[in-house]
């Protein structure tokens, strides 16, 4: 009994002595360590803002700044240094960007990347001294488009964040969010859910038509303007009223493909409107399919495109119905900014579109699908019944 008490006392005593020694050491070293760490952190900040005299970490409301921003440091003379983490396809880049008090970039470095950086490593230097317009005009590096685009967006986010922190306002909404907001404002009865209408008739002067999913009505887009037309009503705008009348009266009928010979293999279905336009669903080989018509070489899938064409061969509207292209690469073609380029084109000039760099196979798949549509149109129109 006595022995165990003695042992305990000895052990506790030794612990106490060591604890006092540790406390003393910590008392001396802790402030020095903290100072060193601050200096190390400042070193990184100075790299992107060489003229900075002192930095202070700022707390901020994440909802008010671009989503990529993770840390904000305020420089004494009014500039900011932002730490950003890129999102999306090239996520995980940690970028440090300094913004001067006058709203120009003081420097940018990539601290961490999820891939080996080549020329992109010094890409940040190209932004030094530039304002928003200058940043916009900076070219991305070919062969590293994705990376440098993500980099550029991070720089733009930094400039926007500096404006917001300085008390200004910046529209941080994406194009989709702006469109949605405009549709909601034009037709509140649509309950915020709209679908873009696939146009099968020639309607002049209209850029796009959206229908409310709940049947409340239509929204016509002309340039930046949005014109609502409630179900059963008409518009005071003449162009809109004329277009609406055409769309309301439109009707389509299925075409029996077995009645025709020599149709392209990749024509899936065909319809004809009362006004004589054709609505065709055609396919083109996606990435991974080596031969269009005969032999499926590997794991690729066909891209299915719906296209409406006038009898004289002018494309009215295009829509991607199905695609399974690589995320972040081929699927960039599935955006309207790409396939919308076919609208208004004819057989002679539909190839004159801006291809998506890095997505050559997918682009070719779309071109092949459109080619199939024109080939089908000729036969369907020819009346081979």
């Amino acid at each position: 009994m006595k022995k165990s008490v003695l042992s305990t006392v000895a052990l506790v005593g030794i612990c106490a002595v060591m604890a006092i020694l540790l406390a003393l050491t910590n008392f001396i070293t802790a402030p020095i360590i903290e100072k060193n760490q601050e200096a190390a952190a400042n070193q990184a900040l100075l790299e992107v803002m060489p003229n900075g005299t002192g930095f202070e970490k700022v707390e901020f409301d994440a909802a008010t700044l671009p989503k990529t921003i993770t840390d904000v440091y305020k420089e004494k003379s009014g500039g900011y240094v932002f730490k950003l983490k890129t999102a999306g396809y090239d996520s995980g880049f940690i970028i440090m960007c300094g913004v001067n008090a006058d709203g120009t970039v003081s420097g940018a470095v990539c601290l961490e990347a999820n891939e080996t950086l080549g020329k992109e490593k010094t890409y940040g230097n190209e932004f030094v001294g530039k304002n928003m317009a200058g940043v916009e005009a900076t070219d991305t590096i070919s062969g590293a488009t994705k990376t440098t685009t993500a980099y550029k967006n991070a720089i733009k986010d930094s400039l926007n964040a500096a404006i917001i922190l300085g008390g200004g306002t910046v529209d941080l909404r994406t194009d989709e969010e702006i469109l949605q907001d405009n549709l909601n404002a034009a037709l509140p009865a649509g309950d915020g859910k709209f679908t873009k209408l696939f146009i099968v008739e020639v309607i002049d002067g209209i850029d796009a038509v959206y229908t409310a999913d709940n049947g409340a009505g239509y929204v016509y887009v002309i340039g930046d303007e949005f014109f609502p037309v409630k179900t059963g009503e008409t518009s005071s705008n003449e162009t809109v009223a004329a277009a609406h009348a055409i769309l309301i009266a439109s009707s389509v009928e299925d075409i029996d493909l077995s009645a025709y010979e020599g149709l392209p293999k990749r024509l899936v279905s065909a319809k004809k409107t009362a006004t004589g336009n054709y609505v065709l669903e055609v396919e083109g080989a996606g990435f991974g399919i080596m031969n269009d018509d005969e032999y499926i070489h590997s794991s690729g899938e066909y891209i299915k495109v719906r296209v409406s064409i006038t009898p004289d061969g002018k494309i009215i509207d295009t829509l991607t119905v199905y695609q399974a292209e690589s995320e972040g690469i081929g699927d960039a073609c599935a955006k309207e900014s790409f396939y919308g380029q076919f609208d208004g084109k004819t057989e002679s000039n539909f190839r004159e579109i801006d291809a998506i760099s890095g997505a050559t196979y997918t682009t070719n798949g779309y071109l092949k699908a459109i080619e199939n549509a024109f080939a089908a149109l000729k036969i369907l129109k020819g009346g081979n019944e």
């Binding site: 000895a10 052990l11 005593g13 030794i14 060591m18 020694l21 540790l22 050491t25 060193n36």
Partner: protein, 237 residues
């Protein structure tokens, strides 16, 4: 007496070198000898902990009850390691970054616990301090020799200074873990040759001095008369 003290100090360098003869502290030895600067820092840090813990343990050797001596040693060693870690972090941040996790891991470096158990727990403060210095220097020396071989031949540099004419001939394998093992083995063999006949026999650092000897008397009563082979007499991490 003076002569005796000197031998306490010097035995750690070669005759009882903790790394090459006692085969203790293998893990930090392999891990930190890829460059000379890191190895030197590691050696000095271990030396500091070794001397401090040897002195304190020797001071307390009459107070510490036998049954709780190991926990007491661990507390003392861990405490000094933390102190050294904090000091290095504050005053040598570059070294702190370089050694990383191996710095706090000095706590479980068995050279230090081994010397506490084998020597400091039984000898006077003065002798224990000398033993700590000797063993610490022996450890540092071993790390320096090994890191010099590995860095000069493996990375064509010395303490970070490039040696251009060796650049085309560098054997990068030596900077990797297997290369470290190879160099380690060669050096053990070399030291064995140098100290042949003089290296400590099993009884001087085996069962009798094992931290668990008090609980495990197996084999100690009938200590072998013949000198055991090099392979079986050494052990440790």
């Amino acid at each position: 007496m003076k002569n005796n003290n000197l031998s306490v100090l010097l035995k750690g360098l070669i005759k009882e070198n903790p790394v090459f003869v006692l085969i203790l502290g293998t893990c930090p030895t392999l891990a930190t000898t890829t460059n000379v600067a890191g190895a030197f820092g590691m050696g000095i840090a271990a030396l500091a902990v070794l001397v401090c813990s040897n002195i304190l343990i020797s001071l307390l050797r009459k107070i510490i009850p036998d049954s709780v001596r190991i926990p007491c040693y661990i507390v003392v060693i861990a405490g000094f390691v933390t102190i050294v870690t904090m000091v290095v972090h504050a005053f040598f941040p570059a070294l702190y970054e370089m050694l990383g996790v191996y710095l706090p891991l000095i706590t479980v470096n068995c050279i230090i616990l081994g010397r506490a158990e084998m020597f400091a727990g039984k000898n006077t403060v003065g002798k224990s301090a000398l033993d700590g210095i000797g063993m610490g220097l022996g450890f540092t020396l071993a790390l320096l020799v090994m890191s010099t071989i590995r860095e000069v031949l493996g990375a064509a540099s010395f303490a970070g200074i490039a040696i251009p004419f060796l650049e085309p001939y560098k054997i990068e394998f030596l900077t990797k873990a297997p290369g470290g093992m190879l160099v380690y083995g060669c050096l053990i063999a070399l030291v064995y040759v140098i100290t042949k006949g003089k290296a400590p026999k099993k009884h001087s650092f085996s069962c009798a001095t094992c931290p668990s000897a008090a609980n495990c008397r197996v084999g100690c009563a009938e200590a072998p008369a013949e000198a055991p082979s090099a392979e079986t007499e050494k052990g440790g991490v």
